[in-house]
């Protein structure tokens, strides 16, 4: 195996002697899995004719951690934490998809306050994820200062998550049945401060990049993906919308209360790196609109379903109330048993359509949890995108489809 790997690492496939002593070689080289601009451990096997890509083949699986198999061995209550680790730049979006799937299996609906809080958190998460994308993809193309600014704003969002859940990234804050805890005092003010601050900062990013000659030259008309190919190859999210297809799960199949909010779907026209960039930039504006509306309408009241078999009782009751103790014990040792059946729940994660296919056999553990990972499907379009492009543009293309390898490999 290892010798085989070495043999395929660098190989001259075809070569022909041209006139005047020049030679023409097709060369196969590795890009990754430890390449800094593949955003993780993606390995691309590139066949090159000079600087031009003749063929590209993605090789994935370096981050395969068996999340679907792991979930089969855990109760529904505990399998939540593995979903955080898939798209580790948008854990709350994964939590939301998982929670909606389990709630659909159980046949329950969460209170209004949880619904609104989830929308606020999911949209904050979308902005945070897009900020990482913006920073890293600009860094890949040589715009180093954007990276630092993006992470400065992302830090504000992570502070809000820390305020809610005590954890910056792997929060597991959205859970089946509602939220882990009520939104803390000060949450609303922190989010409002962010809403007041962020549009100005977003303007700064636009100033830095959108009309920047260097940025436009590196992205406009580069690595085009025609709309029909994007659909045929199963792309979703900004990769699909950048090509001009207005498909957003939040509009097409509203879930979790999104039908109550007024927002638009930015759509590109050319399907190039620049359009995908603009779509995500404009999406952040729309997320701000949604957060504003959800924050204004945020009701009081319970933040979890009133069912001690699904959500744990408050800690203070466990030491004083016999029933609460029993519920606590049952939930943490065994968990709940949704009726046998299967559901597929699609949500719009920052990367695209995140689908959870859950099969219950009536026991306390998911019989099967399959994740339709948007990055996994979007990656299929990469070889087509970069065919005929220069090696330097591969970096732009990878940045523009915004893959997270934790989700590709699961």
């Amino acid at each position: 195996m290892q010798t085989e790997e070495r043999a395929t690492t660098l190989e001259v496939d075809e070569s022909e002697q041209l006139e005047g002593g020049a030679r023409r070689d097709y060369m196969t080289i590795n890009m990754g899995p430890q390449h800094p601009s593949t955003h993780g451990v993606l390995r691309l096997i590139l066949t090159l004719d000079g600087e031009t890509i003749v063929k590209a083949q993605p090789d994935i699986g370096y981050l395969h951690t068996g999340i679907e198999k792991t979930a089969e061995g855990k109760s529904y209550f505990k399998a939540l934490v593995v979903t955080d680790r898939m798209d580790y730049l948008a854990p709350l979006a994964n939590n939301l998809g998982y929670s909606l799937a389990v709630e659909k299996l159980l046949g329950i609906e969460v209170p209004e306050r949880a619904l609104y809080a989830r929308v606020i958190l999911a949209e904050l998460q979308r902005i945070a994820s897009h900020l990482v994308w913006l920073g890293t993809s600009a860094l890949d193309l040589g715009a180093q200062s954007v990276f630092l600014y993006c992470f400065r704003e992302r830090e504000i969002i992570l502070d809000i998550f820390e305020l809610c859940s005590g954890v910056r990234m792997m929060t597991s804050y959205i859970m089946p049945g509602g939220l882990q805890a009520d939104l803390p005092p000060g949450f609303e003010q922190r989010v409002r401060d962010f809403l007041a601050l962020f549009p100005k900062r977003l303007r700064e990013y636009h100033d830095l990049l959108t009309n920047n000659r260097l940025w436009v030259d590196r992205t406009k008309g580069i690595c085009k993906l025609p709309a029909e190919d994007a659909v045929r190859l199963g792309c979703t999210g900004a990769t699909l919308r950048g090509s001009g297809v207005a498909y957003d799960v939040r509009k097409a199949f509203p879930y979790g209360g999104y039908e109550r909010f007024d927002f638009d779907i930015p759509v590109g026209a050319n399907g190039d790196v620049y359009d995908r960039y603009l779509v995500r930039m404009l999406e952040m504006d729309q997320s701000l609109r949604i957060i504003q509306q959800a924050l204004d309408g945020l009701p009081g009241g319970p933040w979890q379903v009133d069912d001690p078999k699904i959500v744990p009782p408050p800690k203070y009751m466990v030491s004083s109330n016999m029933e609460a103790l029993i519920h606590h014990f049952k939930l943490y040792t065994e968990g709940y048993r949704p009726p046998a059946g299967e559901v597929y729940v699609r949500t719009e994660s920052p990367k695209g359509e995140l689908g959870f296919y859950m099969v219950s056999d009536g026991s306390a553990r998911p019989y099967r949890m399959h994740v339709r990972a948007p990055s996994f499907a979007n990656l299929q379009a990469l070889p087509l995108m970069i065919q005929g492009a220069f090696v330097a543009d591969v970096v732009a293309a990878i940045g523009s489809i915004d893959i997270v390898l934790g989700e590709v490999d699961r």
Binding site: E68, G73, E109, L233, A252, F253, Y336, V343, Y344, H370
Partner: protein
């Protein structure tokens, strides 16, 4: 919540897709012998199709002018080892134009065919490429006509298919020296590396024969 009991507002919460009836009718009319069952649960419609007809049914659904299922959202599988046929292969179809949604399911696999073979749908939607490779990798279901049916998530020399329910959860035999000591790069790995043993409370059980390495092209 007791088993089988559903919460308040179940019906209103998960409305049926408006195109589900039309889809079922279309498949029933065009392929009366291919459809074996229609299941509904929580507003989601599943058509259970005979395995050998899947490609035709998919093509017809994609080309049906009033439905236009132009988008393959997902392919996956479920293993039911006690049941025969053993595997469910599940297709989630979507139309970006009409917002129609349908789930197709087929059942394959018995004792004689540990690696059942079904027709690929990459000819209908190229998106199926990665999804089918994933199902092949993790379940060992083969897709005839697939352009590049190789492992995608597991290493190419892996034995067995991890998402099968009978896949051992512990016990991979590691070479001597253990991974703590490096094996020189150009030396061959000792025989038996990667072979799976099942560690039980009574000690190491006999290594189960790799489920299907005879006809496994890896």
């Amino acid at each position: 919540m007791a088993e089988g009991q559903t919460g308040p507002g179940t019906v209103a919460l998960w409305p049926k897709n408006p195109h589900a009836e039309a889809t079922v009718t279309l498949v029933r009319e065009r392929f009366p012998d291919a459809i074996s069952d229609v299941v509904e649960y929580r507003g989601e419609t599943t058509i259970i199709v005979r395995a050998e007809r899947i490609e035709e049914v998919c093509r017809a659904l994609r080309d049906a002018p009033e439905l236009r299922f132009n988008f393959l959202a997902d392919i996956t599988a479920v293993d039911w080892p006690e049941r025969e046929p053993r595997y469910d292969v599940v297709y989630h179809l979507l139309s970006l134009e009409t917002s129609a949604v349908i789930r197709l399911k087929l059942r394959v696999g018995d004792d004689e065919t540990p690696n059942p073979e079904i027709a690929t749908v990459t000819t209908v939607w190229p998106a199926a490429n990665f999804f089918e490779r994933e199902v092949f990798d993790l379940f060992g279901i083969r897709f005839s006509g697939h352009p590049n049916l190789t492992r995608i998530l597991m290493p190419s020399d892996w034995v067995g298919h991890p998402l099968r329910k009978d896949y051992p959860l512990t016990g991979i035999a590691l070479p001597e020296p253990h991974w703590g000591g490096q094996i020189p790069f150009d030396q061959p790995l000792p025989p038996g590396t990667g072979a799976q043993t099942l560690r039980t409370p009574d000690g190491v059980a006999e290594a189960p024969a790799p489920p299907n390495d005879a006809d496994d092209t890896r």
